[in-house]
Symmetry: C2
Subunit: 445 residues, 2 copies
């Protein structure tokens, strides 16, 4: 049988990895797919670099539309990234009847609904295993492996840069800024690290997982996104003393009122497997009503791990592209006619309606009655306390005045109620600095 012909749009880190893994493992991949998979065309503005990667094995062009317009190409792999030209090219490839594989989480988290609709109308597949958690086959697990389940929640470490920074902060007791510089030096963080450290990249990924888990359209605009820039070494130390680690989690959860969709630093019990995922590694926990908690762990980025996911999609296409389009695995797990409309039965909840528990670090002047005052305000707001950690006072400033950190863990509380209580506490004259509030997730089964 004739090999599947693949056209690559962009041959940077992931494209280069895809090309070289396909070359290296071509026999094994052919034995699995039932036919060869060949990259026969590559489009890249830097044609010289592209040629240095592919040699004479593939035709190199500068214009992506030459690839899309070539009738011999069966599958277009989009590795350009971003929302702009990538979106136009993906839609053109679909219109030309090509299957599409993409690693572009930003594009799908924002424009996925439009893209999947176009693909369904044209009867082509759009696959994106590489868009979430790199080489970990988490899209496949959610979309195919756990189809029996009513998914309850998904929580993941899905950004390697921030997990590397948090691991280093804990290991070495350093503050965020210092570690970020080190991470940039080592290549774990980009020169402009905003998308990673502000949680945007993780939010793109959890938006996709939310859609697959619950059968809702992608709704990145409704996600709550908070990064790790405000975490101090002290928070990590206090969390440790209380039996927790701090991780940047992407969380999506089904509740009676709707879907939670949020990215923020979270305290996680140190005994949970996911709390022990260190460095740039990724891991996702999925909780389904039948299976309970399952966890998926591996490299979330990098040339060959991401290529592993791109090629798995290509093999799926090779295996399935002759199947009836109505009955192939739907891109968002649920058949497109069965997606719940945005804002329908399963609206994405505003952050004020999310219920979770909290870690609070409150810098107070060390005088009688402070704790009573603060806990009184929490009680008034209906917030119950799980644990309190009061450090010995530091001697600061003149005239014997001292300050101390008051650490409070709460039970489950509506975020809106917590916001109001914190505003009141922040107004107390004995509270000396902005309160640091970190959410806490037990992630129990």
């Amino acid at each position: 049988m004739k090999p599947i012909q693949v056209g690559l749009l962009g041959i940077g880190t992931v494209g280069g990895g895809t090309f070289s893994v396909l070359q290296r493992n071509q026999d094994e991949i052919r034995r699995r797919a039932g036919r060869g998979i060949e990259i026969s065309m590559v489009a890249d503005l830097d044609t010289e670099r592209a040629r240095s990667v592919v040699g004479d094995k593939a035709k190199v062009v500068a214009d992506a539309r030459e690839v899309i317009g070539n009738p011999d190409i069966d599958v277009v792999v989009e590795l350009i990234g971003g929302y702009g030209i990538a979106k136009a090219l993906v839609l053109e490839a679909i219109a030309a009847g090509k299957h599409v594989v993409t690693a572009n989480k930003a594009l799908l988290a924002v424009h996925g609904t439009e893209i999947f609709k176009a693909a369904a109308e044209k009867g082509v597949m759009v696959s994106y295993e590489a868009a979430v958690a790199g080489g970990i086959p988490i899209i496949k697990a959610l979309r195919e492996g756990l189809t029996a389940n009513r998914i309850q929640w998904v929580a993941g470490i899905i950004n390697g840069t921030t997990n590397f920074i948090l691991s280093e902060m804990r290991d070495k007791g350093l503050d965020f800024d210092v570690v970020l510089k080190e991470a940039q030096r080592l290549g774990y963080a980009e020169a402009d690290p905003t998308f990673d450290i502000e949680g945007v990249d993780a939010a793109h990924k959890v938006t996709l997982m939310s859609s697959i888990a619950f059968g809702i359209p992608v709704q990145f605009d409704k996600a709550y996104v908070e990064g790790i820039t405000k975490l101090a070494a002290a928070d990590i130390k206090y969390a440790e003393q209380l039996g927790y680690r701090i991780k940047l989690l992407g969380i999506t959860k089904r509740t009676a009122k709707g879907i939670e969709l949020r990215v923020h630093p979270s305290l996680v019990p140190a005994k949970r497997l996911i709390a022990n995922v260190e460095g740039a590694m990724n891991a996702v926990v999925v909780n389904g009503d039948a299976v309970g908690a399952t966890l998926y762990y591996g490299k979330g980025a990098g040339s060959e791990p991401t290529a592993s996911a791109v090629i798995a999609d290509l093999v799926d296409i090779a295996r399935l592209h002759e199947a009836d389009p109505e009955h192939r695995v739907p891109p968002l797990a649920f058949q497109s006619s069965s997606l719940v409309a945005a804002g329908g039965d399963l609206p994405v909840l505003p952050m004020a309606d999310v219920v979770t528990s909290y870690y609070l670090r409150i810098r107070v002047s060390d005088e009688a009655g402070v704790l009573a005052k603060i806990t009184g305000l929490l009680a008034n707001a209906g917030i119950s306390i799980d644990a309190v950690l009061q450090r010995e006072a530091d001697e600061v400033g003149g005239e014997g005045s001292t300050q101390t950190d008051l650490i409070i863990l709460t039970h489950d509380t509506r975020e809106g109620d917590m916001d109001r209580a914190l505003a009141e506490i922040q107004g107390l004259p004995t509270v000396l600095a902005p309160i640091n509030r970190i959410r806490k997730e037990e992630l129990s089964n």
Copy 2:
């Protein structure tokens, strides 16, 4: 579209779970599968129990052949277990043109080649996600998620009973026999626990994973199988002191000479995620050349976790059964024409040719020169030592004679060389008890 009609053979723990999860989540499953999935017939010798489970929702019969012979049934789910009648019924179902889903690892590990061949000839699917690691979609990960990779090795905790026993031994410092009794009382171990504690169940499962990972026929008869019955609390304690945990691992590895296929207790570095998998949970690490190490974790047994895997197979069949049989996902990951013949390029190696490292516990009389003598014999056999732990001598016996445990960790060694060296060491007059030898796996990336 008409719902897929499913016939269940056997409605015990897993069958009951399958029925109730399919009922409970039927809307969600239909939205994913694109059509309903209905259990319309159930065969069980205990028709009364079967009726108490399914009520009037399905026809109950005592004779499995009534299900197989019913032209309205699309898929037969075999949950009887064992090699006997289950094999005959699976082959009859295939001959009748039914797709088959089974959780029967023993059957497939021994007769899989015959069964998959019959299915290929008939153009039907045989799915068995539930046969390995319960609800964890590990078959799908190996067969579809990691198709880009040349798999290097797979190592898993794939038997919950033994992992529960080992966790309890470590937690409570108890010996094997004591904990086994407790596990039986709690329902974690069966009245006859032989298959679990002797490693047979794990060997069935790793045999299947070996076949999928490397594209070889199932070869259970070539697996090396050693259980956990000889482990002492002391071994777990010494391992801990050296930075290791002891786990019963199913391991299959590609080497230049062939395939390793083995089940035995293994020391694993305590810092590895898999070393921290506790209780009855399962986890599998897969190492591929492109993706590196990935890990899959979850419940490996139980009614609904196993049902989760059975139903995922049913959804796959609903989605794919109209696809061209030549291009569906092949049951053993590689197209059947592409499997390497047994004993061909990739023979399963005899245990003597396996290369690994070792933990040795040697009970010696505490006298001058013992360590020199033993390490000399190891050196003569070309075995190099990684670490030695010598405990303070216990006072045992009269006349001031004392004994002590000598713990040795070795570097990589051919098992056959180790066997010969141990025979010599065992013969020394200063060695007072049978040497306990446990293999050690670093499981590094």
